[in-house]
Symmetry: C2
Subunit: 363 residues, 2 copies
């Protein structure tokens, strides 16, 4: 059985922004379990899941059990031709996410893809051109912020000035490898994109978001295969230092070393340093203290405190995304921000691979 | 009144390795409150503090109240000429630590200096040459490991194989600035050495120690003055990525942004990632949960647990240092390790300053 990491599909309190049938979507490409989180988020925000499609009927069967309201589409084409479908959500193989997105947008759909949203700079250019051409959205499920209440609340605290001006972020994105059940593409850099592109994309998105950077320079980036010689295509470790265009800085580390004794798939942390205080997020567990996530710690001029964020702020991204699609606004996340995180994670991976002497087909 | 950071002087359970009078030392140079921790550690391990000396009689008076067993020396020379004195301990201005050490060693004393033990590569060469010439020790009080029980216990856990092979360390060394009471030299790079040299030295020492690296390459290093334009000589932020000669890697961040609401002078953390598990140290507080330090968190194949390390392992460094001086052994810390950490922190600072376009007199 896949461990929880691959199937991390948070559920929240339903908070519909539309009535049934007002916003219809389809799920195409079920290769990564994130599709569950993506569907849950949209459904809780009122969206109607009409179709599920994947070339693998076993995957379709499993998701139809989770979403009995949907039907299996016979092909991608059936979804694309249905004018009722406003958005296509996908968590297929990372390197296939952009090609699918281009087809969906060409067919007049908004697109909502799992991270990493693309794996090459060529794909990035194609995606930007398609957005330009069609006016459609290429939205990205950066779940480690968007689907984590503590992470959302941190953004609100920063906006409220709780820690002054943000000057640095540090992120830790450890994951359980679960090598026994991973599909082949998990081990192929051309397909998953490399660790900085894959799970690193969450981290870069958070850096840009919390620091308010529009762009960033990659100051240093590393990937390593420390302990998996049988899987030479796997980066089991990666890290990166970023310098934002507003002078802020950030560091993150990602790895596949979560040990079996840990109560969850990864002890994900975010540390946000401001001129007047700092915030720590313990997203998925409170190490050695409590199972379950949603832990925020704040210290500033007045206070040092723990805040249990569970149930406090929900996951507003999904409702905002639906309304953005309906109203052609950009409240959930700007296209520019989504693409910038994607660009930087691809670039960081390239820099790290080059330093290691890794050669492969790019773009 | 100075805040606790400058006067951090942990006390432990007395655990003498020698009888009164068997190991006599003197304290010269009281510019940094670390001298209190250094003296406490040595005294608890059985050493006899005979003299205190500083050009400033007010400083001498304050420390004589803390250590009534000592007398004020009339000059450095009085200490150097006293054959009973085996070791000189100092926490004077960082840039003066090496010159004092050279004089002490030349006079036949072992030397025990606060970190950073030196501030230029020229001083490093001189210190190495003096060790070579005299056979005396140039020991360094890297307090954030040596005087922190959780940090000592982490080393023991690693030696026991609790987390497999260490592949990375991450350190956070935030400190409270307390700008109102800092002496002038706190703001002069030539004197304090820059943030990576000063408080960064703790971090580099820990990286070398926990990863078992004999040497390291500095992959990236930054210093910033984010929020102190009135003190252009102050680096209020620094970070650095290191690559060990055994393939391990490390990152640390140091800063002067500890907010007033925090219960202690800094939420110091160390994260040690191994192939089979990881360790987190919360050295001085358990943020938002508990005042006081000594918190270790361990996750590996079998367990996820919290360990209160207070009173469990003590501070063996000081007794080992005394015995090393008496027996001419290197159990407390090798000279090579102490100098390597010093070398790398000076080099990291240089790289970071160069990148910022900071120019000053070096060496």
């Amino acid at each position: 059985m896949p461990a929880s990491g691959m199937n991390y599909a948070p559920k929240g309190k339903p908070n519909p922004v539309v009535k049934p049938g007002e916003f219809v979507f389809a799920a195409i490409g079920l290769d990564h379990g994130h599709i569950g989180g993506m569907c849950n988020g949209l459904v809780e925000a009122g969206a109607t899941l009409k179709y599920i499609y994947d070339p693998d009927p076993n995957k379709v069967k499993r998701y139809l059990e989770m979403y009995p309201q949907a039907v299996a589409a016979t092909s991608e084409g059936q979804v694309f031709e249905d004018k009722e479908v406003a958005l296509v959500a996908s968590a297929n193989i990372a390197s296939e996410r952009c090609p699918l997105g281009l087809r969906a947008m060409e067919a007049g759909k908004d697109y909502f893809t799992d991270k990493a949203p693309l794996t090459t700079l060529g794909q990035l250019e194609a995606a930007k051109a398609m957005v330009e051409k069609t006016g459609k959205k290429y939205a990205v499920y950066y779940s480690e912020r968007l689907h984590v209440e503590a992470a959302i609340f941190a953004g609100q605290l920063i906006d409220d000035g709780a820690i002054g001006r943000v000057v640095q972020t540090m992120g830790m994105g450890p994951h359980r490898a679960g090598l026994g059940w991973r599909p082949d593409w998990f081990f192929k850099r051309e397909q998953y994109g490399g660790i900085l592109c894959d799970i690193g994309s969450h981290q870069i998105e958070q850096f840009l978001y919390y620091t308010g950077s529009k762009d960033a320079e990659i100051m240093a980036a590393q990937v390593e295969n420390f302990n998996n010689p049988d899987h030479p295509g796997l980066d089991d470790f990666g890290d990166c230092t970023l310098k934002g265009d507003n002078g802020t800085t950030g560091y993150f580390r990602v790895d596949w070393f979560t040990p079996d004794g840990l109560s969850t798939w990864g002890d994900g942390r975010t540390f946000i340093l401001g001129t007047d205080g700092f915030i720590e997020l313990r997203k998925y567990c409170d190490l050695g203290r409590a199972k379950g996530g949603g832990h925020l710690f704040l210290a500033n001029k007045e206070t040092e405190q723990y805040i249990d964020v569970n149930g406090k702020v929900g996951h507003p991204y999904f409702g905002q995304l639906i309304l953005d699609c309906l109203n052609r606004t950009e409240n959930a996340m700007t296209q520019e921000h989504a693409f910038k995180a994607a660009e930087l994670c691809v670039k960081a991976q390239r820099i790290a691979e080059k330093a290691k002497g890794i050669t492969r087909e790019y773009d």
